[in-house]
């Protein structure tokens, strides 16, 4: 049978999916053991036990300094930043994107600018961002917004422009004014793509969060990673990275499910009955 027709069973699928993770873990363990044989104090590739100890220390032992649990504080701080940042980006993308997609004048005005703006690597203009937004939370959130909103806006604008002309004619023959067309046609029809844009945007959002926290913060997952990097404390960094990845994965799934449940019409299940 052709390879493309050979479908693994459900159990085989799970087993195969676990394979690369197991392989990475194995390779890591071996490399770590080798380095520790060479230099027992090696910090670059801590053993799994060392990482477990670090997690125990960071997540389940109150900090001597503040009496709080460092890892949870970091997580909360980062989640708050990324949450507010993505919220702002989403609102911007929705408002600007629909305005650009729906109103030809606004599209003519903003499309070239947003296009150019989305190509600026935000980390190169960090000093300006920090001057404009200060060094508080605003700047960190601003970096996330600057890094994600332009692309999200373009996605929403494209989605708006993709609404079939027929539907726009139809709703006009039903007497809708421009504002009603926005609220009753563009916004709901664009929502699935907006959620898609949020999911796509979360990847750079994490990167910008980490970058922002590396520059000015006193808490946060990215802050901690950069702080302990001076000592090459990979026993803290690696669990933190894994934790970030898990959170990112959960968020991604959550948005996917939100879209499937909340916007059933857009996920053509059931098909024509």
């Amino acid at each position: 049978m052709r390879l493309i027709n050979q479908k693994p069973s459900r159990i085989a699928r799970y087993a195969l999916g676990a394979l690369p993770f197991a392989a990475v873990l194995l390779i890591y363990s071996v490399a770590s053991k080798l380095r520790h044989m060479e230099n027992p104090q090696d910090r670059l590739l801590p053993s799994l036990q060392q990482m477990a100890a670090a997690v125990e220390r960071m997540a389940f032992t109150p900090s001597k300094r503040t009496g709080e649990y460092t890892m949870w504080l970091d997580t909360l701080a980062s989640l708050e930043r990324i949450g507010i940042g993505m919220l702002v980006s989403t609102v911007l993308a929705l408002v600007l994107g629909i305005a650009m997609g729906a109103i030809p004048r606004i599209r003519a005005t903003l499309a070239p600018f947003v296009g150019a703006f989305s190509l600026i690597p935000p980390i190169t203009v960090l000093p300006i961002l920090f001057i404009v937004f200060g060094l508080g939370e605003t700047a960190k959130i601003a970096l996330i917004v600057v890094g994600t909103a332009p692309v999200m806006t373009r996605t929403v604008a494209q989605a708006t422009a993709d609404v079939p002309d027929e539907l726009l004619v139809k709703v006009q023959t039903l007497g809708a004014n421009s504002w009603q067309i926005v609220t009753r046609v563009f916004v709901p029809m664009v929502l699935p793509r907006l959620i898609g844009a949020i999911r796509m945007g979360l990847v750079p959002a994490w990167i910008f969060l980490v970058s922002a926290e590396a520059i000015a913060a006193e808490q946060g997952l990215g802050y901690r990673i950069f702080l302990v990097r001076r000592y090459l404390a990979m026993d803290v960094i690696l669990p933190y990275v894994a934790w970030i990845t898990i959170i990112a994965y959960v968020l991604d799934r959550a948005f996917y499910l939100l879209s499937r449940k909340g916007l059933r019409w857009a996920h053509g299940e059931g098909g024509a009955l």
Partner: protein, 338 residues
Amino acid sequence: APVQDARAQDRESFQVCWSIYAGWMPWGWIESSGLMDKWADKYDISVDVVQINDYIESINQYTAGRFDGCTMTNMDALSIPAGGGVDTTALIVGDFSNGNDGIVLKNKDELSAIEGMDVHLVELSVSHYLLARALDQIGLSERDVNVVNVSDADLVAAFDTEDVQATVTWNPLLSTILKKPEANEVFDSSQIPGEIIDLMVVNTETLRANPELGKALVGAWYEAMSIMSSDTQAGRDARTWMAEAAGTDLRGYESQLETTQMFYDPAEAVEFTRDDKLIQTMDFVRQFLFKHGILGQGAPSPDYVGMQFPGGETLGNTNNIQLRFDPSYMKMAAEGEL
């Protein structure tokens, strides 16, 4: 622009920033322990002490007018704010590096072996300066090595690679690197004592219009100095706090302090500032900066930016004085007038 306008005026609230470095950790403790508020209240002002992780960004923000004061080295004070036309006063001379910066070679224990190597360091930083001074002392110049820029965040990890055979860096990166068996420190800042100075600088105009800011900062600083240098439980607690904030433990932090010549006593700091050696140091520094083209925009000569020292002595263009060493506030502390 509004920030700048506000600078010269009489104000009540101020912001200064600091970044993580052994000699500056007390600033974090000063803020969190309430010392800052206590001293600010005393002078009827309020002072925010803000931590910024990225050292350069903290200086940039100060230069751009976001902050009224900032921690930085003498060299960066000259090249960034002073060179950028922001008249800056060195309010507190906190310490100088006495081994906190060093040159590390892999598997070689002679500085002279550095000739012809790729040297990885943060370009245009004090490490770069240290390298230039070290080469000077053995009759080499920068042309005899190849400088490769590495960001400080990546330096420790980078040292683990084959590509890096020589590096120049500061603590705590330095001590982390020195734990590697193949790492040999061949030169350190204790061999050019007093040349890499860690300061708290403030905007000169702000300070002039608001001397209370200077008094509050200096007062808080030296109270913190006396606590942290004491062998009491309070002192240990303070040092433990700083150690943890620096991402290490008490032992690690104390070993960093060993190579930092702290001026716990304001009188020592005043004396250091008044010494003519400082003028000589700053001359080295400005020559170094000029050679690398970073002393002010299109500076025609090392004299372009003027500096003022205690006793009215100056270096460079007296019509363009942008960096001032002013021990008067530390003197007040020394004399118990705060």
